[in-house]
């Protein structure tokens, strides 16, 4: 019932959350990450026009599945859904959704927070930010 997916299509956040719901669960916690217009770098506010995400698809899926399996080992949760979009993403569109269903919401919160942290650290996907006057590959969370 876990669900890991890469897609170039818009992500339906509610549908991902719904995929992972088993009958013993009462709560799903969902992290919805999306392209934001403004970011701060070196205390300068930068306006992004859109994003492009590139994935090493086979490896990214393997790493996503590993994270789902590890989360189920370490937290009292039932199911995990991880969907990451690739290609061009407009401002405001969802780039990643992580949904965790658990009998008790506390475990769902903890696992979801862990999963997004690890996804940003290990899953081979790269974000390019496109500005009015150029573009740059993001250096990831470590650099933020």
């Amino acid at each position: 019932m876990d669900h890991c997916e890469l897609t170039t299509e818009p992500i339906n956040v509610g549908a991902v959350a719904r995929r992972v719901v088993p009958p013993e669960c009462g709560a799903t916690v969902t992290l919805d990450g999306y392209a934001r217009r403004f970011t701060t770098r070196d205390s300068k506010v930068i306006e992004t026009e859109y994003l492009v995400y590139e994935a090493y698809e086979e490896m990214a899926l393997k790493e996503m599945q590993k994270l789902a399996a590890k989360a189920k080992e370490d937290f009292a949760i039932s199911n995990v859904g991880i969907v990451h979009r690739t290609g061009k993403i407009e401002i405001g569109e969802t780039s990643v959704v992580i949904s965790v269903a658990a009998p008790h919401r506390k475990d769902a919160f903890a696992a979801c927070e862990w999963l997004i942290k690890e996804l940003k650290r290990t899953v081979p996907i790269w974000k390019k930010e496109i500005y009015a006057d150029g573009e740059a590959w993001s250096e990831g969370e470590a650099a933020e």
Binding site: Y56, S95, P124, E141
Partner: protein, 82 residues
């Protein structure tokens, strides 16, 4: 040992730096991931400025991991998904 060919994939910043998404390397027998990185840094000097990660057969590898004939190697900078 005989010569072998290794496929190296590039993604994101490394693909931009080397100007392609795939490179075929010929090496003498078994080699370490580290020696492949060294070879690529020599061919593409701009790579030397980057903190690089290497994967073998879609698994994260360290410099002393052994690369075998036919293995799929990938070279990339720190990931930034999410």
């Amino acid at each position: 040992m005989s010569d072998m060919r290794i496929n190296v994939l590039f993604f994101g910043a490394t693909a931009d730096i080397v100007g392609k998404r795939r490179e075929e390397l010929e090496v003498d027998g078994e080699v370490s991931a580290g020696s492949i990185l060294d070879e690529l840094r020599t061919r593409f000097p701009y790579l030397a400025a980057q903190k690089l990660h290497i994967s073998i057969e879609q698994e994260y590898a360290s410099s002393d991991s052994i690369v075998k004939a036919g293995d799929e190697i990938a070279i990339f900078t720190s990931v930034s998904g999410g």
